[in-house]
Symmetry: C2
Subunit: 330 residues, 2 copies
């Protein structure tokens, strides 16, 4: 036996979360701005912000990559001053690429140091954002520290212990985080705090986890694993191999509700908890399309770092939790 | 334009959260116990627990009410020793009612004190659970404090400030909470911590909130309001009048997915956050059917209180956060 739910396709943006709203009397939609995307700060405030940040020159290394491009776009919208040089591969070296209407000259490994030194001389407030490749993480960090330029490391992989040691042994200010999605980091941190403060609060509950990512992602979501380990501390018994990995585009569009244009880049997560007697359930979802959340988080990390450098803070090495604690900076 | 989702009615327990699973390859369901309600502790452990708690005599005042009955059932299953006396109205006084196969004699206001005194004399480890009526909250608390018997106050209403003062001025151990749903309290606490630690983390996000309760509940969910105030601290702009209150049984069954047998008693909540550019969304749900979550939380509060009395803890007045911090006690 079954019943039918008609779901307008225009509402299928994320797990059927939104679908329901389309079928319900929606007071908020008619009576308020809740449905209209809006910015939390006023136009004049944005002007003031642009003035204050436009003097922050940022160098985005890996500008030809997807994240590099996304960061340049977000930084440009935020009013940051993107310098026309970027680290790239030896093959690209010397070529000029256009990103968001900006001409950027690529410098390969052999020209890296000279390029950075002259750029830092011209722009003493320079902040570097690194979205290159795992193989370049440690060499780049070592160079940033040697030159003494503050940086945000968004590139994953490489020798992470060495990365942290390189920064700790230097005088350089840096934000290092494998996850730049500020709101996802906040959600995970809240789950970790709940697990630490209330161990066993969900004892006996059963858990179902579904995660959907582009087909090219072969491994299981690291964020899902981190959230699940919190639920385990909360008393839920769950094996990581019970995670439902969705990689089939047809399922992602029809079942999960991933917009077709984001099949090649999305990160959807659903956690469903059910009490032993099945009278209680909790559900948590975090659904990301594209890269703007990571790009915006990176811009926040740059603004944060600029403040810390300016105030000569004693602490020099930060992560996204530190950025979150600082509060909204724009 | 729309597409069709077929939803087995047996899966329509909570907001369509579960429906999706029914349409998806479910590794966990076939390969693990994740779908089978189970207890987090082993049978021998339960035996030990029963021994240790069976000597805790509990008096459930308001035993003829729905919560009173639910608590007696949960306490009985947990192996607690329910005494055969309960406070009730003057009309019921002297009558004997059967709850979970137990004969319980009701004592009205005029007989309250004598009944409690003799009961406490026979059962020096007595713990009282109060699920009476708002009008009785302060008189009952005053009596428990005068006699010196530890109690769990689950009844809402009355003069709350006076209630706390009465306990603070006494030597009595008590757990007082208007919300006994342990997991709901844990979720709300986690949201409060996130809001406090990461102000503005969701700046610019839009919020939709839906809550469904039995038609007899005229006011808006207090839990929803508390969670929303956290989102406001996180930078979301939302007016309380934007909350979608669902009170129509037809909508609750067909749209929300409330099981028909729980139309007269449920508390479903859904919070949906969307980023300004609509590429990111978060969803949180806590869906409660019936009263077992509150009854189980009350039993946990009793076990917690028994421990505190036994250890002669310096702190005497507790809430559900304290109970949660203690961890799983069974």
């Amino acid at each position: 036996m079954s019943f039918i739910v008609k779901v307008p396709t225009n509402s299928v943006r994320i797990f059927s979360g939104t679908n329901r709203w389309m079928n319900m009397p929606n007071r908020s939609r008619t009576s308020s701005s809740a449905m209209i995307p809006h910015c939390s700060i006023s136009a004049p405030a944005i002007q003031t912000l642009r003035k204050s940040v436009s003097n922050i020159p940022i160098m985005v290394n890996g500008c030809t990559g997807k994240m590099g491009k996304a960061v340049i776009q977000a930084a440009d919208s935020a009013g940051l001053n993107i310098v026309p040089v970027s680290f790239g591969s030896e093959e690209e070296s010397g070529t000029t690429v256009e990103v968001c209407g900006k001409q950027i000259t690529v410098r390969g490994p052999s020209e890296r140091e000279r390029a950075l030194l002259s750029l830092f001389e011209e722009n003493p407030n320079l902040i570097v954002v690194d979205y290159t490749v795992p193989a370049a993480v440690n060499d780049n960090a070592e160079l940033y520290c040697r030159v003494g330029v503050p940086f945000v490391m968004g590139t994953t992989g490489g020798d992470r212990d060495l990365l942290y040691k390189t920064v700790e042994d230097s005088e350089v200010y840096a934000v290092i985080s494998p996850q730049m999605g500020k709101q996802v980091v906040a959600f995970l941190a809240a789950m970790e705090i709940m697990a630490e403060q209330f161990p066993g609060a969900f004892a006996g509950y059963s858990l179902q986890v579904m995660e959907s990512h582009q087909a090219s992602k072969v491994d299981t979501s690291g964020t899902a694993k981190a959230v699940i380990s919190c639920f385990q501390k909360l008393g839920v018994s769950f094996d990581m191999d019970q995670i439902q990995m969705i990689r089939d585009p047809k399922q992602q569009i029809e079942m999960v509700g991933v917009p077709e244009e984001h099949i090649s880049g999305h990160a959807f997560h659903l956690y469903h908890l059910t009490s032993p007697d099945e009278t209680v359930s909790f559900e948590f979802q975090h659904n990301v399309c594209g890269r703007s959340i990571y790009a915006e988080g990176t811009v926040d990390a740059v603004l944060f770092l600029a403040k810390k450098v300016q105030s000569r803070d004693d602490k020099r090495l930060y992560n996204m939790i530190d950025v979150l604690r600082e509060g909204n900076m724009r």
